[in-house]
């Protein structure tokens, strides 16, 4: 028995070692590179890049798109998870596959399909321009693309949890005459709370960082349709490496902030429970 524990300790440390090394090389080093480059020319240059007018506008747009994506996908995720896990119907597998599809669609294609749908060669373009609605190369297009790439993130977190919970509790409540919203609030939501939080974090993180799809659809109008990742690209293409990395580090910091908030909420919630 003693030997067993000793050996298992060795395994433990080896595994922890591998995990840490992997994360260090693949994650920490690139991030450190970003931060180091950002401060290479001192805090003043950093601050200048970060407080630049265009940067601030890009931050606002990014936050806008992220909030919208989270909101939209929350609504979608809850409805989708509810219908998929609580009922049986034909074509369920097809439905879940279609919901997941956006994750694996190349961002280039994601942008391309919206250009094809709303662009000048699209059949509905004359109608849109008649109404004065601009979708692509404008803010709605950016929001649409962001929603698209993060589409399944919340439902994907909810479905497995709800699936493993089964439907017994809800059925019992329904038989006793509870309304749908009540069932959801009192029975279902407590189960999916943490999964939901994870989903929101994933969705927000991915929405902030989306580059490919947004880049195809934005038109790169400075101060108008530039998100943070696109602004980074622009700075980079201006050979302004330090400011480019400075702006990227804002994204890193935003992501870290979200992850910290998640940990705190989770920690508090689990302690209360």
């Amino acid at each position: 028995m003693y030997e067993e524990t000793k050996r298992s300790k060795v395994v433990k440390y080896i595994l922890i070692g591998i995990a840490l090394l992997f994360v260090f090389v693949m994650l920490v080093l690139p991030l450190v590179t970003v931060i180091c480059e950002a401060f290479k020319s001192g805090a003043e240059v950093f601050w200048q890049a970060v407080s630049d007018d265009y940067t601030v506008k890009a931050i606002v747009l990014t936050v806008e798109a992220t909030l919208f994506a989270v909101l939209f996908n929350t609504v979608f995720g809850i409805f989708a998870a509810w219908s998929i896990t609580k009922f049986r119907f034909k074509g369920k597998k097809l439905l879940t596959t279609l919901i997941d599809l956006p994750v694996t669609v190349s961002p280039i294609i994601a942008g391309l399909i919206f250009v094809l749908t709303f662009g000048r060669q699209s059949p509905i373009y004359p109608l849109l321009s008649e109404l004065g609605i601009k979708v692509i190369f404008a803010v709605p297009g950016i929001i649409l693309a962001t929603v698209f790439v993060t589409f399944p993130f919340i439902s994907r977190e909810l479905i497995p949890v709800l699936e493993s919970e089964g439907t017994d509790e809800e059925e019992a409540a329904a038989l006793m005459g509870a309304k749908g919203t009540t069932i959801f609030r009192k029975i279902t939501f407590p189960h999916i709370k943490w999964a939901f939080l994870y989903g929101v974090v994933l969705c927000a993180a991915r929405a902030m960082g989306e580059f490919g799809a947004v880049s195809v659809i934005s038109g790169h109008l400075r101060g108008k349709t530039n998100t943070l990742p696109l602004h980074v690209e622009i700075l980079f293409n201006e050979f302004k490496y330090v400011p480019a990395f400075a702006v990227s580090s804002i994204l890193v910091l935003m992501a870290i902030a979200i992850l910290i908030i998640r940990s705190v909420v989770e920690y508090k919630g689990k302690k209360d429970a």
Binding site: F76, T104, I108, L112, G212, L251
Partner: protein
């Protein structure tokens, strides 16, 4: 068993909200995903079958499928193994810095892929920190397929880890302990008890990562070198067709990629569905 089967059949619509929730789901799905994707199909339908076939089977395009497929596969494989290890370490062990490690897993999502690509390239080029080390042994990373794989590993880190983690959390260590007491070796315990439980989620994560890696563009273009037949990935070909105003070829190749990701996902969902059934049946 029989009672349960009967009940779930009869009571399948006891819970309210089926019409509403399915309606909302399908509408939103159609608006955001299906209609735009249909535009792609409609656009491609304007081509004759032989045109379509020619566009998707040009030699350079074929070579790019190969590059994309191989690098994405290897990267997802690495992520599958590392994802299981990471999930295991995060769920089963206590060590300082664990919460930080746990919190970092999603960071690759938030960092714009282009930034990731630039950072990784400067690290792995022959002049970089990591690249310089390997260059001593005559191995180059950046501007080769190895470089592409590195970028894809970065992009795909969260998928497997986050898929396996919840399953491991639910898995009761009692069985393992029992098996251990009965004298089963560690490897045997892992293979016989843990692996079957987590395998479906590993596959799910693998599938998602694989699909995501196949389509990745932003980070790869910086690190790849983009040489035709060697390090040119399929999304880049789509991009170059677009720049030549050749929408038809671009959409045709895009359709092939779309079909590939759909297929991967469908398989993943089949596995997951089967798994869910087994889990339920066992209870």
């Amino acid at each position: 068993m029989m009672v349960q089967a009967k009940k779930s059949k009869k009571a399948k619509r006891v819970i309210p909200g089926f019409g509403l929730s399915l309606g909302v789901t399908i509408t939103l799905l159609s608006l955001v995903v299906l209609i735009p994707l249909a535009a792609l199909v409609i656009y491609t339908a304007q081509m004759s079958p032989s045109e379509f076939w020619e566009a998707i089977t040009r030699e350079r395009v074929l070579a790019s499928y190969k590059v994309s497929f191989i690098t994405a596969f290897i990267a997802s494989l690495i992520n599958a193994v590392m994802g299981v290890i990471l999930a295991w370490v995060l769920v089963r062990y206590k060590f300082p810095g664990k919460r930080i490690l746990d919190g970092m897993i999603e960071l690759p999502f938030a960092l714009p892929t282009a930034v990731a690509g630039i950072a990784l390239t400067s690290l792995t080029a022959d002049t970089g920190l990591i690249g310089g080390f390997f260059a001593k042994f005559g191995i180059s990373i950046a501007y080769t397929r190895v470089g592409i794989t590195v970028a894809l590993v970065f992009v795909g880190i969260p998928f497997v880890t986050r898929a396996v983690q919840p399953v491991l959390e639910k898995l009761d260590p009692v069985y393992e302990e029992a098996a251990g007491v009965m004298g089963a070796g560690r490897f045997r315990i892992f293979r016989k008890i843990i692996l079957p439980e987590i395998l479906p989620s590993v596959l799910t994560g693998f599938g998602l990562a694989f699909g995501r890696c196949l389509g990745e563009y932003g980070s790869v273009v910086f690190i790849a070198g983009n040489k035709p037949f060697e390090t040119e990935i399929t999304p880049l070909i789509i991009m170059s067709e677009l720049q030549e105003y050749d929408y038809k070829s671009a959409t045709a190749i895009a359709l092939v990629m779309l079909a590939a990701s759909f297929l991967i996902l469908f398989l993943v969902n089949m596995v997951q569905h089967r798994n869910a059934k087994i889990l339920k049946g066992g209870r």
